[in-house]
């Protein structure tokens, strides 16, 4: 036990400034994020007082940007779960710098995603009815149960995987932080001191939860996909929606993970810990997923287009008429770029990979938008309307502001999380000191 401790004291030394009292820049950053969130709250109040009419949603396109954001955030959450769970279970060598970031992404986006559903609900005062009067036959009830289960599971898993580092921080003297924080670490460390018995129990629990979190992630995101695929809407009523959504989710998650890695590497000078090798490894995962994603997307649209059933035809006509460039961006660029960048060794540079990751994130957000909105714009009974905003959907300032507010919340929570615990997993039986 003592030996384990000693080896990592110098590591904690390196990370102390990350978790100690925030410096000025961090304060400015956090205040900026709070302002962004306040903007979102302003839009929310406007929506509550003015009614949903101030959004762009109307009787045909009843689900718009809010639901797209919901799917997107839940997606990256499950990606985090699958990646961190997978890395943990397979005891991958290079996991330590990235695994905690993945876990953070998981839990934070899991808390933000459902907020977007609440924004879409017409009568917020009746939310308890989901539990009081819940109907088991409804996919939304499945989703409520699933998300609740997932949040609890991810919290437990996060706790299990950060427990060691919490104990380290607790034991580290002379950390410049508030007394209440020190007490908090003490409490949360649960008296973990690294005895063999404790380690055994911790490892066992962590392994089981890692497996659970992976399984749950797949099931829960499939439930989300089934919300769409059990309806009869052309474009949604697809048998492969479950796996399609899961793949797309993990794909978008790798993009967010790479972006987070790049940001933290820059901010905290973690060049020693997060190296090019990590970027390439996660990048390879991203590339493989890009291939799978492209395969699923191609399969979807090929079958629709070839069979040319009238409703599918109508949908494809809208996709290639109104949404042509978005479709190309999302399903061509979004698929080919990672394949090229990671496929060609010369292009495997950190910055290029990160740019690709950003493109991937955007492409997948657009992909979700193209799944939700065009289908609702081409229902079975033709839309015969005179009001333009009832024929075509376009998000209003309320929806965009709340989207940005959500991103701001995500960043703020991530910042707070990294202030709480070192963002790189420090403790485990072996921590290789990597070369840049």
């Amino acid at each position: 036990m003592e030996a384990e401790h000693k080896n990592y004291t110098e590591k904690i030394e390196e990370f102390r400034h990350q978790i100690e009292k925030p410096n000025t820049i961090t304060w400015i950053w956090m205040i900026f994020l709070v302002l962004v969130i306040l903007m979102g709250i302003f839009a929310l109040v406007a929506q509550i007082t003015g009614g949903h009419i101030i959004t762009g949603m109307r009787d045909n396109v009843v689900w718009g940007i809010y639901i797209v954001n919901f799917i997107f955030f839940m997606g990256i959450s499950y990606a985090g779960a699958l990646i961190s769970g997978g890395l943990h279970l397979f005891r991958t060598d290079w996991r330590h710098p990235v695994i905690r970031m993945a876990e953070a992404i998981t839990i934070i986006s899991l808390l933000i995603g459902p907020l977007y559903i609440l924004l879409c609900i017409g009568r917020l005062d009746r939310i308890p009815y989901l539990v009081l009067f819940g109907r088991i036959q409804s996919p939304i009830t499945w989703d409520v149960i699933a998300i609740a289960t997932d949040i609890v599971g991810c919290l437990i898993y996060l706790y299990l995987s950060t427990l060691r580092d919490i104990a380290r921080v607790r034991d580290f003297k002379n950390l410049k932080m508030a007394k209440w924080r020190k007490k908090l670490y003490s409490f949360l460390a649960l008296g973990y001191v690294g005895t063999p018995e404790q380690q055994k129990r911790l490892n066992r629990a962590a392994d089981i939860m890692a497996a659970m979190v992976m399984a749950i992630a797949i099931i829960v995101y499939s439930v989300l996909a089934w919300i769409f695929s059990v309806t009869l809407q052309p474009g949604w009523h697809s048998t492969i929606f479950g796996p399609y959504f899961v793949i797309a989710a993990v794909y978008s998650g790798t993009g967010v993970l790479i972006l987070a890695m790049w940001i933290y590497r820059k901010l905290f000078h973690l060049e020693e810990y997060i190296t090019r090798k990590h970027f390439v490894n996660v990048g390879v995962v991203m590339m493989v997923l890009a291939a799978f994603f492209g395969y699923f997307t191609f399969s979807e649209y090929l079958t629709k287009w070839y069979g040319s059933q009238k409703d599918d035809e109508q949908l494809i006509a809208i996709l290639f008429d109104r949404y042509y460039w978005l479709f190309v961006f999302s399903n061509y660029l979004g698929v080919l770029l990672p394949l090229i960048v990671i496929g060609i060794p010369a292009l495997r540079k950190i910055n290029i990979i990160t740019i690709t990751a950003v493109v991937v994130i955007l492409a997948l957000w657009v992909n979700r938008y193209l799944i939700v909105v065009p289908t609702l714009e081409s229902p079975y009974l033709p839309i015969q309307e005179s009001r333009l905003d009832w024929i075509h959907y376009s998000g209003t300032w309320v929806e965009w502001t709340l989207t940005i507010g959500g991103i701001g919340t995500f960043c703020l929570l991530f910042t707070l999380f990294s202030k709480f615990i070192p963002i790189v997993e420090l403790s485990s039986p072996k921590l290789p000191k990597a070369k840049a």
């Binding site: 109907r135 088991i136 036959q137 149960i145 289960t149 609890v152 599971g153 437990i156 898993y157 706790y159 299990l160 427990l163 460390a189 649960l190 008296g191 973990y192 001191v193 005895t195 018995e197 404790q198 129990r201 911790l202 066992r204 629990a205 089981i208 939860m209 659970m212 749950i216 099931i219």
Partner: protein, 299 residues
């Protein structure tokens, strides 16, 4: 100016003021609404007869049904008009009087009965009157089965003067069944020369849960007979089924979910949350061990 001229001027002023006041709706000397009246008659299964006077009044906006108007009904007996009854119009503008079974209407030589309805008129409504001539008829329906085919048999009698009876011949008769919102016509018959007839009973009509069906035979708006109706019940109809089930079926759209859904959900939830509780248990054990360790270290 002499007295006559002054008198004329005063009369003129008086008339003009009446005219003006009349226009300002003080109450007296208001124009009365013109009223039209129609008189019809219905004969029912129990051989009672109704006389219905339908009134329609007209104002600037159009026609409307005046309520609460007294209408007096008379029947012609030889040379006299004998008062039968009075009735007030209801909210549909109909004054209905019911004459009991067995009342012997005075008939003329050919068997016609003359009835009148009169409204004297009052301040609001002009007077109106109507008259109607009809012959008293009896119809009867019954259900017969011949050679495995079902028929509705019907017969009609005209009650002539002095108690003579003539067959009701060469006329249409229609058969209805009462449905939820209206009456459904199920058959159409013809009175033969002997005053009788038969029409095939439509076997696909649905009745109540026991197969009972109420059949209403009607002669409507006949120039000689007015309206005549006769009702009878038969149990030839296809029985309708009761919809309410004892136990609600378990479908996707019923209040209770299909069994397999509930079972799957329970299995999955116990599986997942079971693992959670195990992990929490391990954490609890870690804490316990930590406390023990702390104690041993402190010693």
């Amino acid at each position: 100016m002499n007295k006559n001229k002054i008198f004329s001027v005063i009369q003129l002023v008086f008339l003009i003021s009446i005219f003006l006041f009349g226009k300002i709706d003080v109450g007296f000397s208001q124009e009365a609404f013109p009223v039209s009246m129609e008189l019809t008659t219905w004969k029912y299964t129990d051989n009672s007869r109704e006389l219905i006077a339908s009134l329609l009044a007209e104002n600037e906006e159009g026609e409307f049904a005046p309520e609460g108007i007294d209408v007096t009904f008379y029947v012609q007996e030889n040379e006299d008009k004998v008062e039968l009854a009075t009735a007030k119009t209801n909210n549909l503008g109909k004054a209905i009087t019911s004459i009991n079974t067995g009342f012997d209407f005075p008939k003329d030589g050919e068997g016609y009965i003359y009835v009148f309805a009169e409204f004297e008129g009052n301040d609001k409504y002009d007077m109106a009157e109507a008259e109607l001539t009809f012959k008293d008829v009896l119809i009867d329906i019954s259900f017969v089965e011949e050679d495995e085919t079902k028929f509705i048999a019907f017969a009609g009698e005209i009650l002539g003067p002095d108690g003579e009876i003539f067959p009701l011949a060469d006329d249409d008769i229609y058969f209805f069944v009462p449905r939820m919102f209206s009456y459904l016509q199920i058959a159409e018959g013809w009175f033969e020369e002997n005053g009788e007839g038969m029409v095939e009973y439509p076997t696909k009509i649905i009745g109540d849960t026991l197969g009972n069906l109420q059949v209403i035979a009607r002669i409507t708006e006949h120039y000689d007979y007015g309206n005549v109706q006769k009702t009878a019940t038969i149990d030839w109809a296809i029985p309708s089924h009761l919809i309410a089930a004892e136990t609600p079926s378990r479908e996707l759209w019923t209040p209770i979910a299909p069994m397999w859904m509930i079972i799957t959900l329970i299995i999955m939830l116990t599986g997942v949350w079971g693992h959670y509780f195990y992990a929490i248990y391990e954490l609890y054990m870690i804490r316990k061990l930590g406390k023990r360790e702390k104690k041993t270290n402190n010693i």
